[in-house]
């Protein structure tokens, strides 16, 4: 490599913390053995391609997108337990990630996904899709109204059931901060048997469990759950030398 050239570069974003994230291969989750990369990842020094990323804000969100109890109604209200899910999106330095897109999807109260591939023998709800999105506020806070998802069986092993969960997708400030994760509910007995949850390093798993909060709970309306999300840091400065 010719080191005499000036390579445009910015400060490194913080690294992916492999003590926090699940490994690619976790054989108890039976979809991993044929899909996990087998060779070591190649390290990459962050340049502009890693310190930039797609920017989506309010223009990406429709008026009902953050209320899953309303955004797919046809002839009434969706069935199930109405809940509020809220939390803050932060980077590792604790800075709020403002005006940042949060996408969610989930099963309905009966544990059935709208997805055509899901053949679980449980009813669809004509008034519930289970998809939503919103943008964080000045404190990095997001907020959804939804229906508490049900557990559902899957084919991983005999009598396998996924714990209650809501899928989250975050773009964050750069392509390196991209995160797709799942939020679980406190006290769910299925967590002990779930290879997706258990595949996460033991000291990091509990970060995936939301907490019930009376302060977020709305009287006579909906229980409140809080799920804070921490993304990789941004790297400090947007300045760089370009030729």
């Amino acid at each position: 490599m010719n080191n005499s050239k000036v390579m445009p570069m910015t400060d490194q974003a913080t690294t992916r913390d492999w003590q926090s994230h699940p490994p690619y291969l976790y054989p108890e989750y039976r979809s991993t053995p044929l899909r996990a990369p087998t060779r070591p990842l190649i390290p990459i020094r962050h340049r502009l391609s890693e310190t930039t990323g797609p920017v989506y804000g309010h223009e990406a969100v429709g008026p009902l997108d953050a209320d899953l109890t309303k955004n797919a109604r046809r002839n009434g209200e969706p069935l199930g337990e109405r809940i509020v899910v809220t939390g803050r999106l932060l980077d590792e330095e604790g800075r709020p990630l403002r005006n940042t897109l949060v996408e969610v999807w989930q099963a309905n109260a009966a544990g059935r996904y709208v997805h055509l591939v899901d053949q679980h023998d449980a009813p669809l709800d004509p008034n519930f899709l289970g998809a939503g999105r919103c943008v964080t506020d000045e404190e990095g806070r997001y907020r959804f109204y939804t229906i508490k998802p049900g557990a559902y069986p899957w084919g991983n092993h005999p009598n396998a059931w996924r714990p209650l969960h809501i899928h989250f997708s975050l773009l964050g400030p750069t392509i390196a901060s991209r995160l797709v994760t799942q939020m679980y509910f406190p006290g769910d007995p299925l967590l002990d048997f779930d290879p997706i949850y258990q595949g996460t390093p033991e000291n990091a798993r509990e970060r995936l469990i939301s907490r019930f909060e009376l302060g977020v709970t709305e009287p006579d309306f909906a229980l409140g759950y809080v799920f804070d999300i921490v993304l990789r840091g941004r790297g400090e400065t947007p300045f760089e030398n370009r030729s």
Partner: protein
């Protein structure tokens, strides 16, 4: 500096992401923020299509993956505030540089991106596109890059491509289709002899 907060762990996208993340592509009654059309016709540059499949360890195409791409425009500018090059942001509103496609709609489980060939982002860097792969069975997403096989000279100088063992570099090259102008083929192999290079981004 105070102690850093701990990163929230990744979890798999699972098999049922389509109505949440790629609803229009899969014809669910919801919108999506990004699609396979990364650049519309008004965007200046060389318009190209990138088509490919993802193969598992048995060589079977993966029907339930999601692929995202992130790239600079034809002049090497990212639509992001960290790109301080002249006219980087807001000057090309038809071009966000971000695409997202599921593999479950095409009958052969291909992904399709319509875009422009990216320019070089910085001196010494060959044109490239960042790719993120998500699927059931991937607890954490995988990053790779697309380079272009018809950029041999610039590829030979690219610091990232050159950091990859020589015998594996071809896994990162999109090949121009000899019969269709502007069409590139880029397959991703999760495992096996042709296992794609994945990066620790």
């Amino acid at each position: 500096m105070s102690e850093l907060l701990k990163q929230t762990p990744s979890q798999t996208v699972g098999p049922y992401f389509a109505y949440g993340l790629t609803a229009e592509q899969y014809r669910y009654p919801f919108t999506q923020i990004a699609s396979g059309k990364v650049a519309d016709d008004t965007v200046p540059g060389t318009h190209i299509r990138i088509v490919g499949r993802i193969f598992d360890g048995e060589g079977k195409p993966v029907p339930d993956a999601m692929v995202e791409i992130w790239q600079a425009d034809g002049e090497g500018r990212y639509a992001h505030p960290a790109d301080s090059s002249e006219g980087a942001r807001g000057s090309n509103t038809g071009f966000k540089g971000f695409g997202r496609q599921g593999t479950g709609v095409d009958p052969e489980n291909r992904f399709h991106f319509e875009t422009v060939k990216p320019g070089s982002v910085g001196e010494g860097e060959a044109p490239h596109i960042t790719v993120i792969v998500f699927m059931r069975g991937l607890l954490t997403h995988a990053y790779t890059r697309i380079y272009f096989a018809d950029e041999a000279e610039r590829n030979a100088a690219d610091p990232v491509l050159q950091s990859v063992p020589e015998e594996r570099r071809a896994t990162l090259l999109a090949e121009p289709d000899p019969d269709t102008h502007g069409l590139y083929r880029f397959d991703i192999h999760m495992q096996g002899e042709k296992e794609t290079v994945f990066f620790n981004v």
